[in-house]
C-alpha cells in the first residue's frame, strides 16, 4: 500500500481517464471508473501522510497536510481565513468526517433555479447512500465528553434542537486529532477507504504532482501536464493523455486549473463558503476539551441557515485562537482547561471569486459578504452566546478583536439588532463550494447538469465546486454524491453524444 503512493519519474503516461485531485470528489470518481474497468491515473499535488507518521503537533500537521500550512485567506472585508487539505485524501484527511445530507428543500430549490436535470432528493438518495456506506457513516462509540455536553446542555436548556452528528469512522479512539490526520485510521478518510480500493483495481496515483494545465483542442481535453519530482528529487514534467479528464481539485483549485487552461466563462465567479465566527467560553468547572472528542453535537434548530457547533481543541490551537486579541485575552491561556471553543456558521448570500494569476502558484480568492450575511452573523453569534450561558459559562468572548466579552446572556444580545463590526470580526471557513455550479441555465452554470464543462466533450468537474450553493451542512457527503453521479453520467453518455452536445454549446 505504502509503495503504491510513491511518486514516479515517468514522463509520458496514458490512461482511459485522468483524475486531478484525490479528495472526496476525486476518490469517488475513481471508485466508479475503476469499478467499470477503466485504466485510471490520479494526480495529487500533496504528499501521502500515512497514519503512522501523523504528528500530534498542529504545526507539523498543518505543514504536512494543509495547503500552505493553513495560511490561506479570501481577500475581503474582513478577510476570511480558509483551510484546504493538500495531501493524498485531500480535505477528508483534515476534516472531522461528519456525514450529513443536504436539505431536501434546498436541493429542490437548486434544481429549479439552475435547471439541473434529474436532481431531486429521491434521485440523489442512491448516491448519498453510496457515500455513507463508503465511509461507514455511524455514531461515534464511547462517551463524547464535556465539550459535546456543553452544546447539548445549552441548546436543550433553550428548547432548541440539538443533534448528535454521524461521522465516517470505524472504531474512533477519540484522539481528538481529526484535523491533523487521524493517527489510528479510524476516520474513514479517502486514504483509508476509496483510494486503496481504486488502487487495488490498478489505479495509478501520482502524489506530489501539481497540474499546470489541461490542453484543449477542437472541443476536447487532449493532455494534462503536471510538475512532479523524480526519484532523485529533480523536477519532472508529467504529460498524461486520457479519454476522460476529471478535475476534482476543490472549489478553489478546480476553477484555477480550468482558468489557467483557457476556460473562463462562468468559471470561478460564484464561490460560496460558510462564513464562521467563533467564541471562547470560560466555565467554572474544567472542560478539558483536549481530552475529549471534538464536539460531536450541533445546535441544528436553525439549519440550514445557521448552525452552532464546536471545534478541535488542544492547548496550542487554543493559544493560536487567542492571537486575535492577545492583549485582552492572553490571560485566558492560564485557564485553558476551563475553556471551550465553539462556532456559529451561516449560509451566506454573498459570493466570491477565484482567479488564477500568471506565474504564481496560488490563485487570488475573494469573498464579499452581503449585508444580510452580517445580520445572520450577528444572530448566530447571539445564539452562540445564549447557548454558552445556558450551559453555565461564566464569560463568553466573541471572536471580535478588542471585545471585552460578555458576562450575562443579556449582554450576548449585543449583535442581535446591529451587525458585528466588519473590521474587527474574525471570520474563517473550512467549507468551500459552488465555483462551477451545474445546470442547464447557460447564463449561470459553468458546467452541464452532470459536471461536464460546457463546450468540451470529455472534461468534467466533480468536487465541491459542483454544489450549487452553500448547503449549510458539512459538505463531504454531497461532494461524494455529486462526484459518483458525475462519473456515472460520464460513463453512460457515449462519446458521440457528448461530442454533439459540446459542439452545440460551442456554436
Amino acid at each position: 500500500m505504502k509503495s503504491s503512493f510513491c511518486r514516479t519519474s515517468e514522463r509520458q503516461l496514458e490512461a482511459d481517464a485522468v483524475i486531478i485531485g484525490s479528495g472526496a470528489g476525486g476518490a469517488s470518481v475513481a471508485d466508479v471508473l475503476t469499478a467499470a474497468g477503466l485504466c485510471v491515473i490520479m494526480l495529487e499535488e500533496g504528499k501521502h501522510v500515512p497514519a503512522s507518521s501523523a504528528s500530534p503537533l498542529a504545526s507539523d500537521a498543518f505543514a504536512a497536510a494543509w495547503r500552505n500550512g493553513g495560511l490561506t485567506a479570501a481577500i475581503g472585508q474582513p478577510p476570511i481565513a480558509y483551510a484546504e487539505g493538500r495531501c493524498v485524501g485531500g480535505g477528508t484527511e483534515i476534516n472531522s468526517g461528519i456525514t450529513q445530507r443536504a436539505d431536501d428543500d434546498l436541493i429542490d430549490q437548486w434544481r429549479k433555479l439552475y435547471k439541473i436535470e434529474n436532481f431531486t432528493p429521491d434521485e440523489l438518495a442512491q448516491y448519498y447512500e453510496r457515500a455513507e456506506t463508503a465511509v461507514n457513516a455511524s455514531w461515534t462509540p464511547g462517551p463524547l465528553g464535556r465539550a459535546t455536553g456543553i452544546l447539548q446542555q445549552g441548546g436543550k436548556a433553550l428548547g432548541w434542537e440539538v443533534s448528535e452528528l454521524k461521522r465516517g469512522q470505524r472504531g474512533c479512539k477519540g484522539a481528538n486529532r481529526c484535523s491533523f490526520v487521524c493517527p489510528s485510521r479510524a476516520k474513514q478518510s479517502m486514504a483509508v477507504t476509496l483510494l486503496p480500493k481504486a488502487m487495488g483495481r490498478s489505479m495509478r496515483l501520482y502524489a506530489q504532482a501539481r497540474v499546470v494545465k489541461i490542453h484543449l483542442d477542437k472541443g476536447r481535453a487532449t493532455e494534462v501536464t503536471a510538475q512532479s519530482l523524480d526519484a532523485g528529487g529533480q523536477a519532472v514534467q508529467l504529460r498524461v493523455k486520457a479519454g476522460l479528464v476529471f478535475v476534482c481539485a476543490g472549489a478553489i483549485h478546480t476553477p484555477a486549473i480550468l482558468r489557467r487552461s483557457g476556460l473562463r466563462k462562468r468559471i470561478g465567479n460564484t464561490l460560496r463558503v460558510h462564513p464562521t465566527i467563533k467564541a471562547t467560553a470560560l466555565f467554572d468547572d474544567p472542560v478539558d476539551a483536549h481530552q475529549s472528542r471534538l464536539p460531536l453535537a450541533a445546535v441544528t434548530e436553525f439549519m440550514p441557515e445557521q448552525r452552532i457547533g464546536g471545534s478541535v481543541f488542544t492547548p496550542a490551537v487554543f493559544g493560536l485562537s487567542l492571537a486575535e486579541d492577545w492583549a485582552n485575552r492572553g490571560d485566558l491561556m492560564q485557564h485553558w482547561r476551563f475553556c471551550g471553543s465553539y462556532y456559529g456558521m451561516i449560509r451566506p448570500r454573498g459570493v466570491g471569486s477565484v482567479r488564477s494569476l500568471s506565474g504564481i502558484n496560488e490563485p487570488l480568492v475573494r469573498f464579499k459578504l452581503a449585508p444580510e450575511d452580517w445580520i445572520a452573523l450577528g444572530q448566530v453569534l447571539t445564539r452562540l452566546g445564549q447557548a454558552m450561558f445556558a450551559a453555565n459559562a461564566r464569560k463568553v468572548f466573541p471572536s471580535i478583536s478588542g471585545h471585552e466579552g460578555w458576562t450575562s446572556p443579556d449582554q450576548a444580545h449585543e449583535f442581535w439588532h446591529k451587525p458585528p463590526p466588519k473590521r474587527r470580526s474574525n471570520l474563517l471557513t473550512i467549507h468551500l463550494f459552488s465555483s462551477c455550479p451545474p445546470g442547464e441555465d447557460r447564463d449561470a452554470c459553468a458546467v452541464d447538469s452532470y459536471g461536464r464543462v460546457r463546450g468540451i466533450e470529455n472534461l468534467f468537474v466533480a468536487d465541491g465546486s459542483l454544489i450549487p450553493e452553500a448547503p449549510g451542512i458539512n459538505p463531504q457527503m454531497t461532494i461524494m454524491a455529486l462526484a459518483f453521479r458525475a462519473a456515472e453520467a460520464a460513463l453512460s453518455h457515449s462519446a458521440q453524444e457528448r461530442a454533439r452536445s459540446a459542439a452545440r454549446e460551442r456554436s
Binding site: 495560511l71 493559544g319 492583549a327 478583536s401
Partner: protein, 129 residues
C-alpha cells in the same frame, strides 16, 4: 529569519515561566517554526510579511532600545503593536499572523507543554482539596 526573531521574541508569552536556558532554546525553536510556516504561505502573504517585517522589526528595535529587562521590552513592543493594529492596511494582519504562528509554536514546545500540563495538575489538585 533575523527580522522574524526580533518580532517573535517580543511576542513570546511569559507564562508558563521557563528558566533562562530553557527559554532561549524555546525561542530559537519557535523562531525556526514561524520562519518555516511563513515560507509555506501563499505568495501574496509572503510578500506582505517579507516587506512589512523589516519595518516592524526595525520599529521594535528602536522602541525597545534602552528598555531594562525583557518584560519592559515586551510591554513597549506590545504598545507599539497595539498602535499599529489600529491603523488601516495590512500591518494588523501581518502582526496577527506573527502572533498566531508564535503562539502555536510556543505552546507546542515540549518544555512549555510539560509546564502547561503540570500547572493543570496543580490547579486540579488545589480545587479538589
Amino acid at each position: 529569519m533575523t527580522f522574524d526573531r526580533v518580532i517573535v521574541t517580543t511576542m513570546t508569552p511569559f507564562w508558563p515561566l521557563l528558566d533562562g536556558d530553557e527559554k532561549a532554546a524555546v525561542v530559537t525553536e519557535v523562531v525556526r517554526e514561524v520562519t518555516r510556516s511563513l515560507a509555506g504561505a501563499p505568495f501574496h502573504i509572503r510578500l506582505a510579511v517579507k516587506s512589512l517585517s523589516i519595518f516592524l522589526s526595525l520599529g521594535v528595535v528602536l522602541i525597545t532600545a534602552g528598555a531594562g529587562g525583557p518584560l519592559t521590552r515586551a510591554n513597549r513592543a506590545d504598545k507599539f503593536y497595539r498602535f499599529l493594529q489600529n491603523l488601516p492596511g495590512p500591518l494588523g494582519s501581518v502582526l496577527r499572523l506573527y502572533r498566531s504562528m508564535t503562539l502555536l509554536a510556543f505552546y507546542e514546545q515540549t518544555p512549555v507543554a510539560t509546564k502547561l500540563f503540570s500547572a493543570r495538575r496543580a490547579q486540579h489538585s488545589r480545587r479538589c482539596t
